[in-house]
Each structure stands twice: as C-alpha cells, then as structure tokens.
C-alpha cells in the first residue's frame, strides 16, 4: 500500500463527496429543521461506506462491474428495466450537475448561464478525452477540497457544539404538525437518496476495474471508503450546521445553490466566498463527470461492449460515443431552461426509485462464496447491507407520496 496513493485517494473521495443535491438539501435541511437532520446524513454515510466498500471488493475479487451483475442476477427483463431507470436517473442527475456548475460559474464570472452550460460541458468532455482515468477523478476531487472552507466557516461562527453533537442522535423534533412531520420525512428520504446516489457505486466499482484492482487493494479500498466518505460527509454536515446557525434564524430557506456560498462569506469575507464557490464548482463538475461516465459504464457493461477510459477512445468506440452523447443529452436538458432546483428534485426522486434495484444484486454477489471466496461479506457487512437495503426500499416506496404531499418539501 503506497501511502501517497492512499492519501490522494482519500482526499479525492473527500473532495468528490458533495454534489449539487447534497449542497441544496444540506442547506435547506439546516435552515428548516436546525440540527435535527444531522443524524440522517451520518446514517446515510455509513450506508454509502458499506456499499462502496462492497462494490470495490467485488470489483477487486470477482472482477465484476455492477451492471454486469445486474443482468445476471436480475435476469434480462428486470435488468433492462433497471438499466432504463438508471439511465434516466443518471441523465437527470448529470443535467442537474451541469446546471449547477453553470450557475456557480455565473456567480464567479457573471457570464450568461446558458453560454456557460455549453462552454463547461465542452471543457468537461475535453478533460475526460485527454486525461487518464486516475487524474480525471483526482483533479476534480482534489480541487473540490476548497470546500473545506465550509468546515472552517463553521468553526469561525462559533456554533453551539453541544446542539450539533446532539444532532447525531436519531430524533424527530417535538411539536411538529402533521404537515411538518411529512416535510421532515421528505427531507429524510431526500438526504438518503442524495448521499446514496447509485451513480457513485457504478463509478467507483467501474473505476476499480479500470485500475485493475486485485486482493492486494482490498485494504486501500476499505480505508478510502471509510475515511474518504466519512470526512466528505463532514463537509455536507458543516453546510447543514452553518445553515442552521445563519439561515434558519433569518427565515431563509435557500432557494438557489449559490446561497450556500454565503455561509463562508459571512465569517471570511470575499476570500471565503471565492473559495466556497471554487470548491462547489469542482465538486459539482466532478459529480457531472461521474454521473455521465457511470451512465456510459452501465450501458456498455449491460450490452457487453468494450468499455473503459484506460483504452484509447477509438479502441472502445461505442463506449466513447455513448458518454459523449450522454453529455450532449444532459446539456440539451439544461438548455431547455428548466430550473436547476427542479432538476435536483427530479434527480433525487428518480435515484431513490432505482436504489433498491442497484444495491440488491451487489448484496447478493458480495455474499456469494463461489465468486468472492474468503472475501465474501462478513457478518457486519452482511447485516449492515440488509439493514440499509430495507431502509432504501422503504424510502423508495414513500418518496413519491411524500413529494406530492409536501410540494417537494416546501410545505
């Protein structure tokens, strides 16, 4: 295990953890319910750690990417349904990320939003074309570390630490009306969906295969999953806690992604604002890359095409055309002028519906001794895996009713 590689891997995971949905929902959750939803972030983070570690282990031992498993485990028909649902979910998510990046660039430079959407999509496509896989992931992830300014801002505003610590204990605030309880439920579902986005697992496990992981990489996989996701989650929790402290008492429920940047500007002034916007820009751009590539990986793996960024683009022509076409499709969605917040809400909804079908085959294969030999799921991984599977299934079933009953969390 190379310590430098390990450190870079962890830092990349930290910087790449937050995407546009987490940014929006963390800020809204804090302003609406104070610190009471911190535990949902913490709980969901353990879930994504469990499934990321599992998908990395399956990639290293069984050498199977998630969508290959899906076709074998769910059968062709159900596999195809899952593929279609995940294509739609990832496409909407990718469009939300491109819209988010364009908005952030608009806050930084004042350049028109739609022009920025075109320019940034082209730049992201170019970066994927010219950079090796490892550096695509690292550049966006490492530059996303500017978001640490949100954690520093939290220290800078001297929040009530005891209340923040109490937020890690599972709770439902007292004295909520029925409508407020439903809104609380909707936020729980949205946070679970935003943290456990399926694209993260597709991208992570495909990346493991791209980098030819083997049994020697299992410890790195475990440490990167636990520390990278765990520390990344602290950034999201910082955004929530800053929002609870600064926005809640001011009657603000952040309606646009740029609002979160104010959290760093209040204690640190212009430099805080600029660092926050730069961190958001690279973290969200990284998420755009991951969603689009995850979609292309899924399609190529499902149909058995040659795939991977370790190959020259013309050596895997269908895969190359697919990821470029998916970026263009996501850009076209943004160019219709649809509101970024609407896209974020749709991304959350579609993703939660796909989650159970994404994680079931992974759980089954990681527990199959024939494929995984001595690296099969242990008691802890198996127990946690099934608990989280039950939680995401309940969340998936309640997502649409809660969305409709609460007007998308707006009460």
């Amino acid at each position: 295990m190379n310590p430098l590689e390990l450190t870079l891997g962890i830092m990349t995971a930290v910087g790449g953890f937050v995407d546009i949905s987490e940014l929006v929902f963390a800020a809204k959750a804090g302003s609406t319910f104070g610190y009471a939803l911190i535990w949902v972030f913490a709980f969901s983070t353990v879930g994504i750690i469990v499934f990321s570690e599992m998908s990395g282990r399956v990639a290293a031992i069984a050498k199977q990417p998630v969508f290959n498993l899906m076709r074998h485990r769910l059968g062709l028909k159900l596999g195809l349904v899952t593929l279609l649902a995940s294509i739609i979910s990832n496409l909407v998510t990718c469009a939300a990320e491109i819209g988010g990046v364009s908005l952030i660039m608009n806050y930084l430079t004042g350049a028109p939003y739609l022009v920025m959407a075109v320019v940034l999509t082209l730049l992201i496509i170019l970066s994927i074309w010219v950079l090796p896989f490892k550096w695509i992931e690292r550049i966006y992830g490492l530059l996303g570390l500017f978001m640490i300014v949100f954690a520093a801002a939290l220290v800078g505003i001297h929040p009530p630490w005891a209340k923040i610590a109490a937020g890690f204990v599972p709770q439902v605030p007292h004295g909520l009306s029925t409508k407020e309880l439903m809104t609380f439920g909707y936020f729980c579902v949205a946070i679970v969906s935003a943290v456990l986005f399926p694209y993260e697992v597709y991208f992570y496990s495909s990346g493991g295969i791209e980098e030819e992981w083997g049994p020697k990489d299992l410890l790195t996989n475990r440490i990167t999953s636990i520390l990278g996701m765990g520390l990344g989650s602290l950034l999201a929790i910082s955004i929530l806690a800053n929002s609870a402290q600064l926005f809640g008492p001011a009657n603000i429920s952040p309606e646009i992604p740029g609002s979160a940047a104010l959290e760093a500007a209040i204690p640190f002034g212009k430099w805080g604002l600029i660092l926050a916007l730069l961190g958001m820009l690279f973290a969200v751009a990284g998420a755009a890359v991951e969603t689009c590539m995850a979609n292309a990986y899924s399609i190529a793996q499902f149909f058995g095409w040659k795939w991977g960024r370790h190959k020259k683009p013309w050596d895997a022509p269908r895969f190359t055309v697919t990821w470029i076409a998916l970026f263009v499709a996501a850009l076209l969605v943004v160019l219709t002028g649809i509101n970024v917040m609407t896209l974020v809400e749709l991304a959350i909804l579609f993703s939660i519906l796909v989650l159970p079908l994404t994680y079931l085959p992974l759980l089954l294969l990681a527990g199959d001794r024939q494929y995984m030999r001595e690296h099969v799921n242990g008691r802890l991984a198996k127990g946690l895996g099934w608990v989280y599977f039950a939680v995401i299934t309940v969340a998936a079933l309640s997502a649409i009713p809660l969305y409709l009953l609460t007007s998308g969390g707006n009460g």
């Binding site: 908005l103 806050y107 004042g110 009657n251 429920s253 309606e255 212009k270 604002l273 707006n410």
Partner: protein, 111 residues
C-alpha cells in the same frame, strides 16, 4: 358530508392555503435578498456574485408571484411591492416586507 365535499371542492387550487408554499418561498427569497445586501454593504461579497444573486432571486420571486392563485390578495400585493424594489434596496426595507409576509404565513398556517 356534502358540505365538507363542497367546501373542499371550492377550496381546491384557489384558497389562500394553496398559495402558502409561494408565500413561504417569497418570504425566504426576501430574507435572503436582505442578507445579501447586508453582506454586500459590509464588503464581504464580490460585485459579480451580488449582481448574479439579484438576478436569480428576482427570477424566483417572479415565479412565486405568477404562481399565486390570488395575485390581488394582501400577500400578492406584498410580493409585488417586493418585486418593485431596486436591487440595492436597504436590508431593513426588505425585512419589513418579509415580516409582513411571515405574519400572513403564520395566520394561514394556524387557520
């Protein structure tokens, strides 16, 4: 039962309760606008960010306003008054509108 059904049918889509989410949205946008102007006055924000945020907030506020089922109501007029303010209006002036919207919101929620 019939009276209840008639009341529900009459209410659907046109009661002030149906506008509650837009009132909340407008109140929040107004409060955010005040915070931005306050931070801009303290020289904590870049001019580009302030200009962009004003454009987006105004757009959101306009959407809330046009989504109202009763634009001529007290809250509709309050939102219109907010929309007519210049971008660099004093934070306290915006907060006065926000306070009135919050009052209406609380009244509707407790009704």
């Amino acid at each position: 039962m019939l009276i209840l059904a008639a009341l529900l049918a009459g209410c659907s889509g046109s009661c002030p309760e149906a506008d509650l989410q837009y009132i909340k949205q407008a109140r929040s946008i107004g409060a955010e606008w005040a915070l931005i102007n306050e931070q801009a006055n303290a020289n904590n924000l870049t001019p580009t960010y302030v200009t962009s945020m004003h454009v987006w907030l105004r757009q959101q506020l306009q959407t809330s306003s046009t989504s109202l089922t009763k634009p001529d109501s007290r809250y509709g007029k309050e939102i219109q008054a907010l929309l007519q303010q210049p971008d660099d209006v004093a934070p306290d002036e915006i907060r006065a509108h926000v306070a009135r919207l919050k009052q209406i919101e609380d009244q509707l929620e407790s009704a």
